[in-house]
């Protein structure tokens, strides 16, 4: 008799566990679709903008955020890679347009960080000028590299060999704060105020007394 009671208890306990397991997904909001039609996530392929800032010196991070806001407000999918996420491999994924799904296109890239005429410094090291060659993400994009000497060769030549619509770089070493903010103002004038890239750069340089500090390449 005792054995029968133990067995009955075991069966009851097993049934309780089964009931709990079957209802758990509903309790936690994880439910099976009510019908078996295939479900695709809502996805609209389109332009992507990338803001990178491996450094947090000066106003690098706050201006990066400001630029992201301009892009967001114009309805562009915008991503940022700041500080430790701004690694070479992460940046290269965007420059190679290795998106999932694959039909997105990089149209804007802004970088605030250190650099010289031979390359740009990301969180885990320097990316040399030749590593920017054959990058589909740069092609037909508007690129602003707020890094020292980014408008000098060989870095400039590597960038423009991808035929960006616009490439803006520094002809000189850049002072902190004013250069980042001039970069932020460029995007404001271009995105929000609808100026042409050259008008926007001219105005942004004038705002901070930085005439002559940046050069602009424009694909005709």
């Amino acid at each position: 008799m005792k054995a029968i009671i133990v067995s009955a208890r075991k069966i009851c306990a097993s049934l309780a566990i089964l009931v709990l397991l079957s209802t758990a997904p509903y309790l936690y909001g994880i439910s099976e679709p009510t019908h078996k039609e295939s479900f695709e996530p809502l996805y609209i392929p389109g332009p992507v903008a990338l803001a990178t800032s491996p450094t947090d010196q000066g106003d690098a991070i706050s201006v990066t955020q400001r630029i992201m806001n301009y892009w967001f407000s114009s309805g562009i999918k915008s991503y940022s890679l700041t500080r430790s996420s701004s690694t070479k491999s992460n940046v290269l994924q965007y420059l190679n347009e290795e998106f999932t799904p694959p039909d997105d296109e990089l149209i804007y890239w802004n970088n605030i960080g250190h650099g010289d005429k031979y390359g740009l410094y990301f969180y885990d090291g320097k990316m040399y000028y030749y590593e920017f060659e054959n990058k589909s993400g740069i092609t037909n994009s508007i690129i602003f590299i707020n890094s020292c000497y980014s408008f000098e060769n060989p870095l400039k030549n590597s960038m423009v060999s991808n035929h960006p619509d616009v490439y803006i770089g520094a002809t000189t070493a850049l002072p902190q704060y004013t250069s980042e903010n001039a970069c932020g103002n460029f995007w404001k004038y271009y995105i929000k105020d609808g100026m042409s890239p050259s008008q926007a750069l001219e105005q942004a340089m004038e705002d901070y007394g930085l005439e002559g500090y940046f050069g602009l390449y424009e694909e005709n």
Partner: protein, 338 residues
């Protein structure tokens, strides 16, 4: 016997390695002072002129096992302290990129930028006083300021450029009939020091501020080591009058230029003049003074340590200037005799 020789050789090698290591790390028990001055152009869009400011950074690294206490002061000629017109700025606002660093900061854990304590006047000088500073072991500090240095025009002497005895002589000719422009620049190092990372570039606007083409370039000839870009009307740069315009840039870059050495940039353009216009070429001059000493500086830091310390000193002086030509190239189309 052979075994003994091997042991002696190995011991000797070990000793040499230890000796070399000791020598290479001898700075690790000292205080290293690195001073950097960068002369830069600041464009004044009101007066359409370039003025020169100097960024000064003093980096002090305490590689010792004990804390050090010191005071830092910089002295500025009173007439260079022009607050109403030019900013003096201090601390983070006076830091240039890339940040100053020392080859001898391997063991330093952190570097902080210190605020200025007081600015006072003494006879004909202004004193930037950073006060008494305590630097913990393996820590560093930066005392920085940016101040007015001179008007850009002060580098022009008798029509040519003289930047710290780096002389740039120039000659320009325009042949209206043949529509040819010839520009010749001779650069001579008349200082007693070798300069390095020398760059001289000339930007010639090809369009006006409205985007209208002034001239079409048919043929370009330059001196062999000169490089150029922008003949395809794809590059824009500041024309020296506050406008970003399309144009062509010619440049030479040299690793070094020794005392009394000279180099040249010769440009010959066969053009089609499209619009009568006064073109103001603009120049970029960049170089570092090798082996710069305190005497090469506008305002070397005066440091005073409360105790006797072992001090190593390094200084860096850099020029990074954007200068506007004041004699325009007068482009006249054949139909325009004005």
């Amino acid at each position: 016997m052979k075994r003994t020789k091997e042991i002696i050789t190995l011991n000797l090698l070990f000793f040499i390695i230890i000796f070399a290591y000791y020598n290479s790390t001898s700075s690790e028990d000292s205080i290293v002072i690195t001073e950097r001055e960068i002369y830069r152009s600041i464009y004044d869009s009101q007066s359409l002129t370039n003025n020169i400011v100097v960024y000064h950074e003093t980096l002090i690294l305490n590689n010792q096992k004990n804390k050090c206490v010191l005071s830092i002061k910089n002295y500025i000629p009173k007439d260079k302290y022009v607050v109403s017109e030019f900013f003096p700025a201090f601390g983070n606002s006076a830091i240039m990129n890339p940040p100053i660093k020392s080859e001898k900061d391997r063991i330093i854990e952190s570097i902080s930028v210190i605020p200025i304590k007081r600015i006072c006047e003494e006879r004909n000088k202004m004193i930037f006083d950073w006060g008494e500073i305590e630097i913990k072991p393996r820590r560093g500090i930066i005392a920085s300021f940016v101040n007015f240095f001179s008007y850009g025009s002060s580098f022009w002497t008798e029509g040519d450029l003289d930047i710290s005895k780096i002389n740039i002589f120039r000659e320009a000719t325009i042949n209206k009939e043949n529509e040819k422009i010839r520009l010749d620049y001779i650069i001579q190092n008349n200082s007693s020091k070798k300069i390095s990372n020398f760059l001289f570039s000339v930007f010639i606007p090809l369009a006006n501020s409205k985007g209208e083409k002034i001239l079409d370039i048919m043929e370009i000839k330059t001196s062999p080591h000169a490089k150029y870009y922008g003949e395809d009307y794809k590059y824009s740069f500041t024309d020296g009058q506050g406008n970003l315009v399309k144009g062509i840039t010619f440049y030479i870059d040299l690793e070094n230029l020794s005392p009394k050495d000279l180099t040249s940039l010769n440009i010959s353009l066969k053009c089609q003049f499209l619009k009568s216009y006064n073109i103001f070429p603009s120049y970029k001059v960049k170089f570092s003074l090798n082996g710069s000493e305190k005497g090469d500086m506008f305002s070397p830091s005066s440091t005073e340590f409360l105790q006797e310390k072992k001090i190593e000193y390094i200084s860096i002086v850099e020029y990074d200037l954007f200068l506007q030509e004041h004699s325009p190239l007068q482009i006249q189309t054949m139909g325009d005799s004005s």
